[in-house]
Symmetry: none
Subunit: 261 residues, 2 copies
Amino acid sequence: MQELTVGQFDIIGNFFSFSIAAMGAATAFLWLNRSQVAPSYRAAVTISGLVCFIALYHYFRIYSSWTGAYEISSGALLATNARFNDAYRYVDWILTVPLLLVELILVMKLTKSETISKGVRLGLLAAAMIILGYPGEISQDAGTRWLWWSLAMIPFLWIVYDLFIGLKSSLSSQPEEVRSLVNAARWLVLVSWAFYAVVFTFPMIGFTGGAATTAVQVGYSIADVVAKAVFGILIYMIAVKKSAVEGYFDGVASPVARAVR
Amino acid sequence: MQELTVGQFDIIGNFFSFSIAAMGAATAFLWLNRSQVAPSYRAAVTISGLVCFIALYHYFRIYSSWTGAYEISSGALLATNARFNDAYRYVDWILTVPLLLVELILVMKLTKSETISKGVRLGLLAAAMIILGYPGEISQDAGTRWLWWSLAMIPFLWIVYDLFIGLKSSLSSQPEEVRSLVNAARWLVLVSWAFYAVVFTFPMIGFTGGAATTAVQVGYSIADVVAKAVFGILIYMIAVKKSAVEGYFDGVASPVARAVR
């Protein structure tokens, strides 16, 4: 492994622990509050919690793998025989990124055929993006990293374009009260997803040794917390507002909503 | 144990971790969403979650047993004194396979006598299949493996035939809206179950050493995720559609359903 300092080792471990706490809190919040939205939005909120739950599991594994990969001896950091396992992130992403897309599609309440076609298309593109990124991630060679990064960028740009433009055009079909929130979700997807692509390039654009490891691990942790936990809360807020528009307050149908049901 | 490489050891460990995440996510999804289906389908959805929950437990054990069975020293993989325990899979299957059959029978909503006779018959056959497979699984001898494989194939073929043909003939009694999903469940059972039988034969048809171990462990992990988690989601989708046909939306009875209740 690269020449990490004890300070860098600690910072990375602390960010992993922060991610565990944030993902656990978001999972609990979303699952406890799912009954606060109208029944038709509960799937979106449940899946938002599921994404954070899967990430919670993987951050536990990442944290254990990290603390097991080094030991401190007379103030110096030494690599142990157990290596840090980068694969946990990619296993996490292959499960959570398609689900993130599903939670966004579900809360938009598109037509059934649109929901299915969009879900399948974006889900497959997301899987391709992550599978193409992995060979680059585990390589120490900048040329190899750029190659796989470029390949992964093809489905990446397709998804982001599809969501960013697609959500914009469907804004008009959303109730006025939620348009600014949906717009925020659009921008959050664009910015947080682009951040992953930038973090990937850190070792190729000047960061070396321990600084590269720190920049990548801290960068991915922040990106994960924003793209999963913060995004999940935003999905929940959209679900609450849309429920209110449809006559549900705190998950209970108003007499009017009950009558038109 | 066979001469595994560090890469093969890592791949197998990562598949076990993936299975933990997938089974945990499916358990949470199914149990959180059981209230979204009509009350008469909740047992099927609860049991689908139970199957994934039992598998979740066993994959935790399998993962620990795996990582404890080897250590890396100067870049080479060495077997420790703790051996990898194959029995966890068989204990899992003896509990989950009969339950998998029950969840399928329950969601079909057959007559009571059919439900009981089919459940008992298929459950006993499934137990016989798994008990007959185990002596072969723990043997390194191809002849012994073929013997027990052939014996296990008798109840296996009986179950698959019974389900595949039985479900086909009961398709006509299912509402039209769910026929394609029930048909998908039929094929998923056929393909994923056949995959187990094929994975078992990998060490007998040319895979040797570390490649055989990798093919078997990765193969069983994929088969388990498909046959339990993906199958469970399919059962849930069938339950949602049948609930809607019966006038239940998001688990709530429509006024019409309430009137005929």
